[in-house]
């Protein structure tokens, strides 16, 4: 194995591990010393080891249908105080409906909602201790930035002097203190976004709900706002529930990601957890690129690895899952975990998985290739350039052998997609 396996770790995690170190260090909770959430694969539930963390929002058996179409199917979800939780899924998966039920804009057909330990019936949003940042902000067009932000405080009859201090404080945090007299239409998209945030956050909600707040922004602004949002959340310590269909956004911002599909939770876990250990084919293929191999258990080796037939070839598979001999399963591998070798550099091709380079894309940091296996299946590989492999390149149609970093494969026995 010539390439170091760890260079192929996705970029986003490298950023999140130290990027906000200065902000994180001021808080008693942080990504680093936060308890690890252990995923129980059988029940799909997260077991939190840290008992200090309080559940702030709890959904129990929530059902919701629109026009007899089931949108949420017996949804259970616990959200911890102070976390940045993302509801991720394709459109129509029920993530926005979940948010709107917590926010008080929809009522569940059945089930219970607890916020801060209190059973919620039909309380107005602000009586629940939640505030929402809307998808296209819904800033009041006839009011100035100041009046937009002050609106919630005015409605809740906060004394005038307090309103002024609180509004100016939050506007300083979002760096808009010089724009108080502007109308929303005189602001840029990013500024409008920050007004929307300030307008919600100024009310000191227990939980802030964000409904795809970045989707109206262009790509580079989006990246900036992702960072700003994350920093703001750390600074304020408010629980954020964030809805998005953008998996990269979810991975780079969240403490925990809830992957939803067809009104049910597919998987809950840290971004690393859902990316590296997807528990279903849906999660695996929705988050990032992945190669799915058909495999069958042949037996066990002496060091307790599985001997398996993968796409017709005999390989060893390293997994903690207990499988029976003869059991069919799916073997999942991320493109960056694939190991590609030129066949000309391998003396003996006996027993190797072989294929041809069908397409290549130079991505700057990586070289992405599409490889057609001999049995016709197409797989994706993504290799990093490093000192050793500065001139990493392939010819079209070049014969290569395919392997992977042992221990990085994911085994899924569930046949659902």
């Amino acid at each position: 194995m010539k390439k170091t396996a760890f260079t192929s770790f996705p970029n986003i995690f490298r950023i999140s591990s130290n990027f906000f170190a200065d902000i994180i260090s001021k808080k008693d909770y942080s990504i680093d010393n936060q308890s690890e959430n252990i995923l129980d694969n059988d029940t799909n539930e997260v077991v939190t080891l840290d008992v200090r963390r309080k559940v702030i929002v709890e959904l129990k058996g929530i059902n919701k249908s629109f026009d007899s179409k089931k949108v949420l199917d017996n949804l259970d979800l616990s959200i911890y105080n102070g976390e940045f939780l993302t509801l991720l899924g394709p459109s129509g998966c029920g993530k926005t409906t979940t948010l709107r039920i917590i926010g008080g804009f929809e009522t569940a057909d059945s089930g219970e909602l607890f916020i801060n330990g209190k059973l919620i019936k039909d309380e107005q949003p602000n009586k629940r201790g939640v505030n929402t940042v809307f998808q296209s902000y819904a800033l009041f067009p006839h009011m100035t930035v100041y009046n937009n932000v002050a609106f919630g405080l005015k409605m809740n009859k906060i004394p005038k002097e307090d309103i002024h201090t609180r509004v100016m404080d939050i506007l300083r945090i979002v760096k808009l203190e010089d724009y108080i007299d502007r109308k929303p239409h005189q602001l840029s998209g990013g500024q409008q976004q920050r007004v929307a945030l300030a307008r919600a956050v100024v009310n000191n909600p227990l939980v802030l709900l964000l409904d795809e707040p970045l989707s109206a922004l262009d790509a580079s602004l989006r990246k900036n706002m992702q960072n700003e949002l994350k920093q703001l959340q750390r600074k304020l310590g408010i629980t954020f529930i964030f809805v998005t269909h953008d998996q990269e956004e979810a991975l780079s911002m969240s403490d925990r990601v809830v992957v939803m599909n067809n009104g049910v939770v597919e998987q809950i876990g840290s971004p690393k957890n859902v990316y590296e250990n997807p528990t279903s084919l849906f999660v695996a293929s929705f988050i990032g690129d992945i190669n799915i191999f058909d495999a069958e258990v042949l037996g066990y080796t002496e060091d307790n690895l599985i001997n398996a037939k993968v796409e017709g070839r005999i390989c060893t598979v390293d997994t903690e899952k207990k499988l029976e001999v003869g059991q069919k399963f799916k073997l999942l591998l991320r493109p960056e975990d694939m190991l590609i070798e030129k066949i000309s550099e391998v003396p003996d091709t006996e027993g190797l998985m072989l294929g041809n380079i069908e397409f290549k894309t130079y991505k700057g940091a990586t070289l992405d290739t599409l490889i057609r296996l001999n049995n016709g299946k197409q797989i994706k590989a993504s290799e990093f350039f490093n000192e050793e492999y500065e001139d990493l390149d392939y010819n079209y149609n070049e014969k290569v052998s395919i392997g992977w970093v042992s221990g990085w494969e994911v085994v899924i026995t569930d046949e659902r997609t």
């Binding site: 926010g103 008080g104 804009f105 107005q124 949003p125 602000n126 009586k127 505030n131 929402t132 809307f134 998808q135 296209s136 819904a138 800033l139 009041f140 067009p141 006839h142 609106f151 919630g152 409605m155 809740n156 109308k183 239409h185 307008r199 919600a200 009310n203």
Partner: protein, 283 residues
């Protein structure tokens, strides 16, 4: 391309010609005649005078103008009070065919306005339906004097002009983004405060448009005061009509007509200015 240019020129020319013949020239004629003297034998006598304008500002006619504005204002306020909730419910209803409902508002107005006004007269006369019903039920002993009152005129104006309020309001309320309402609720505004702080300010353009569409015609709708108000309620529209058809004083009728037009033009200008200001705020 050339053919299209030709088509454009022809259509615009037809419209321009129409406006020239049926709007511009008559208005110029009115303007000129208003400075002429009255004649007993002809429609007017060609001799320059300002008397027509001077005599309008005498107390009697000024009273008519004031009375007209009073009636128009009362009418507009009532129509707004009825029309706003009506348009709001129509626009906010979940009914699938709500635009059909909006069309239903107009359908009665396909009948001639004159006939509808006479129908109101039938309702209000001494032996009319309202008096008969009230007497039969026993609420009143003697027939009420409903017809030929200010109330009857206002009723007629309100009924005739209601759709002109409802439709522009319906259009603005229908366009109002429901998320503003949700956002205000999210921030703790009660239903009443959502209405006063969000919905009303954001529908101001519709309110102004509706008020103008009601106020301006109600100054000029002469047949309603004629039929429902009798001789007692002389309004500016009746005054003009009478000058032309009864008194045969064309120059004076033209002068009053011009004054009314100037007032209306001034109001439209004010609307244009305010709408521009509001639109730049809203959009």
């Amino acid at each position: 391309m050339k053919e299209r240019n030709f088509f454009n020129v022809v259509t615009i020319a037809i419209i321009a010609l129409w406006l020239l013949i049926f709007a511009f020239i008559p208005n110029i004629m009115m303007f000129v005649i208003s400075f002429f003297e009255r004649s007993d034998t002809e429609f007017f006598k060609v001799a320059f005078t300002l008397d027509n304008y001077k005599s309008f500002f005498s107390s009697l006619y000024f009273q008519v103008l004031f009375n007209s504005f009073k009636m128009a204002t009362i009418t507009t306020v009532i129509v707004l009070l009825i029309g706003y909730p009506f348009a709001y419910m129509l626009a906010r209803s979940n009914f699938k065919y709500k635009s059909l409902l909006a069309i239903l508002v107009i359908i009665p107005y396909w009948t001639s306005a004159l006939i509808r006004t006479y129908a109101i007269k039938v309702l209000l006369t001494t032996n009319g339906i309202i008096n008969t019903v009230l007497e039969t039920v026993g609420i009143i002993d003697a027939p009420l004097n409903l017809l030929y009152t200010e109330g009857a005129v206002i009723l007629g104006l309100v009924y005739t002009l209601l759709p002109f309020m409802i439709l522009p309001l319906y259009a603005t309320i229908d366009k109002l983004d429901v998320r503003y309402i949700e956002a205000a609720g999210d921030l703790g505004a009660s239903k009443f405060k959502v209405f006063t702080y969000i919905i009303i300010p954001l529908t101001v353009p519709g309110i102004i448009a509706g008020c103008l569409l009601v106020f301006l015609p109600s100054l000029g709708l002469f047949y309603i005061p004629d039929i429902l108000g009798g001789a007692k309620n002389l309004l500016i529209g009746n005054l003009i009509k009478d000058q032309f058809l009864l008194a045969r004083n064309w120059p004076f009728g033209s002068a009053v007509s011009n004054l009314l037009m100037i007032i209306m033009a001034f109001m439209l200008f004010a609307y244009y200015k305010s709408a521009k200001k509001i639109n730049s705020k809203v959009l």
